[in-house]
Symmetry: none
Subunit: 198 residues, 4 copies
DNA sequence: TATGAATGAGTCTTCATTCAT
DNA sequence: TATGAATGAAGACTCATTCAT
């Protein structure tokens, strides 16, 4: 009788290690050899579960994005409107070791996405999802009278989207300047403007 | 006596090609071999002007940043305050083929910067310069009574910095959505908020 | 399960080829490429068993030295005193194709040892081992009354050590002059002096 | 009017630097580039005076050998017999920085000589010259009644030749053991045997 | 005479991938 | 299912050499 193995579970374990490596040593040094060494699996094993390196990389970014969305799902349960929006925004900033690593991984992919349609689509999808989430919370805020009714939500959503994205990047690139605290201040500043928009 | 060549001029010519390649095929495929092939130069030629690949890469990002600053210098001559600020912001967005490529190159480096202190420093420096420029224009705006006198400029500068950075990224990652036009609209939206802040 | 191979056995097979090449084409032309070509193995194959060229080279000299010691061990079984000493001396001279090659390999390494501490240590160790062996046999000779009891053995040992070493070198460098026969005559001459020392 | 340059003088200056490099960094790292850098000459300049690297290397060993012979010539003026022999022997041992370097250079060449007829001839010639010198002094010693008349000088000469050569090698390979002092003791030991041979 | 620009072969090494077991 | 043996292409880099000036 063959051993019963949970393929998806194994795949995820590998992907986790790949993500960790992307965040710490970068894409260039994330080789299958090194992944095998760090994971304790054999090179051949990894290729059993991933057709090739490209697929492994793609799965990794997808996993990162899904994980961060799942985390948001949990954290936002029961919240709505501006409260939810602020919580979501905070979750997406690189202020915890985990989210910092997620940002670093993401930034590895942006380089690829800038020149590869397939990777770009993946990133595009993620931005689109964020946009929808933000828009939804903004709509709730408007419904709750947290925002003026006549305000156009899309530009507002984009504004937040860009600020979060830019802040995240800058925080990775200037970590000693854009510390956790300064990021939270920036977030407060953003939210304050929304409130002004009431 | 041998032919006398202008080393810096040669270096720049090579760097230009490297930048082009980084923007079109990405960092991974920007090998010295490929640079040589695309440029028509020999591999040895390139080694003649750069000690190693690392130096070539570093010089390229530096060149990109210097070029974009030089462009800003020229364009902003005679401008000040919010007018200058808007012009500067517009210049930094990926709305021309040239600036689009610059953003793509930059995004290649972010992956490296996320895991390499040396590259991070370079990127950090660039952000810092942008911040200073923005602050200077904001100060002028305040002096010209374009902004309220009691307003704190630093958060404002950061806000703009993040928005421009995030918008630039998003425009590269979702080019069909964040078109030139939508980028300009977003910029208008940003500037409108500054004017509100009067 | 993959084919199971005896790594040490493979390594030895490669090392043997490297030794052969060092003795015939010299260190400079003993490139991994050439080793691969001559052995029929692929470059990757060699890399599979040795981390890098340095290791390959180091292992080769070690193997050469171990092999020659092992040969002495076998040949000297049951011998002692001056008889053993002469047998040992004879074994170490480049009078067979095998020992000739060993000397040639050794001389490749001397160049390296002259400028590299690590290689020098390896060579130093080998000389030290020879010295100890020679001393041991001299001691036996003295115990057997083959030598006078009041004679100081260390200078005698060194004398032999130097003569064997010098003769070996000279025989490689002037092979048509220091032929097998002349080497054996020189050895006889040396042994005669020991006997005189009775 | 063209500049008058002393070609031989320039060649010698280069050769001197090459010898120094061979003794300190080894043959492998003695590249034309590095020679040029260390000498301050241009790469092209060096090739003006030496047709190719091979020639440069060959000239260097020849120069080393000539220099050491010249040194002997000077030092032995007026000496003869065993006195001359001892002086000559002492001069050839690696006990001064200069002679140590000469030995190191020589040992670089032995690796080449072991596999190249041309280099071997050069080394062979040097040994032959030494042999003749030694024989000559032995003959004088015999004529002066420093040695018995019925003794066969050739084996004696060879014995000395081998011992000096072996001692020189061993002194380079085990410098902390075969110190200057131990070398001189060994030389005394050798000479004592000659005297016994009276 | 002398320079250094330029070349391309060749160096070691790393890599993703294939495949027999 | 899983391993790791084996390959060969491609990586960055070094080098001796040629040649126009």
């Amino acid at each position: 009788m063959p051993k019963i193995v949970d393929h998806d579970e194994r795949r995820e374990r590998i992907v986790e290690i790949v993500a960790e490596m992307l965040a710490t040593v970068g894409a260039e040094k994330t080789t299958i050899r090194e992944i095998a060494r760090q994971s304790g699996y054999s090179r051949g094993f990894i290729e059993h579960y991933f057709h090739n390196k490209e697929e492994l990389i793609t799965k990794t970014i997808r996993w990162i994005n899904e994980r961060s969305l799942a985390r948001a799902d949990v954290a936002l349960k029961g919240k709505s409107g501006l409260t939810a929006l602020k919580a979501f925004s905070k979750l997406s900033l690189p202020i915890t070791p985990e989210t910092r690593n997620e940002w670093k991984v993401r930034m590895q992919f942006w380089g690829m996405a800038a020149v590869s349609d397939e990777h770009r689509r993946e990133q595009s999808k993620r931005i689109h999802v964020s946009e929808k989430i933000i828009l939804e919370f903004l709509q709730q805020a408007q419904d709750n009278n947290e925002l003026k009714t006549d305000i156009d939500l899309l530009p507002l959503a984009h504004s937040l989207l860009h600020r979060l994205n830019g802040l995240g990047c800058n925080a990775i690139l200037r970590p000693t300047y854009f510390t956790r605290q300064r990021q939270l201040q920036a977030l407060d500043h953003i939210m304050a403007e929304f409130i002004k928009a009431r």
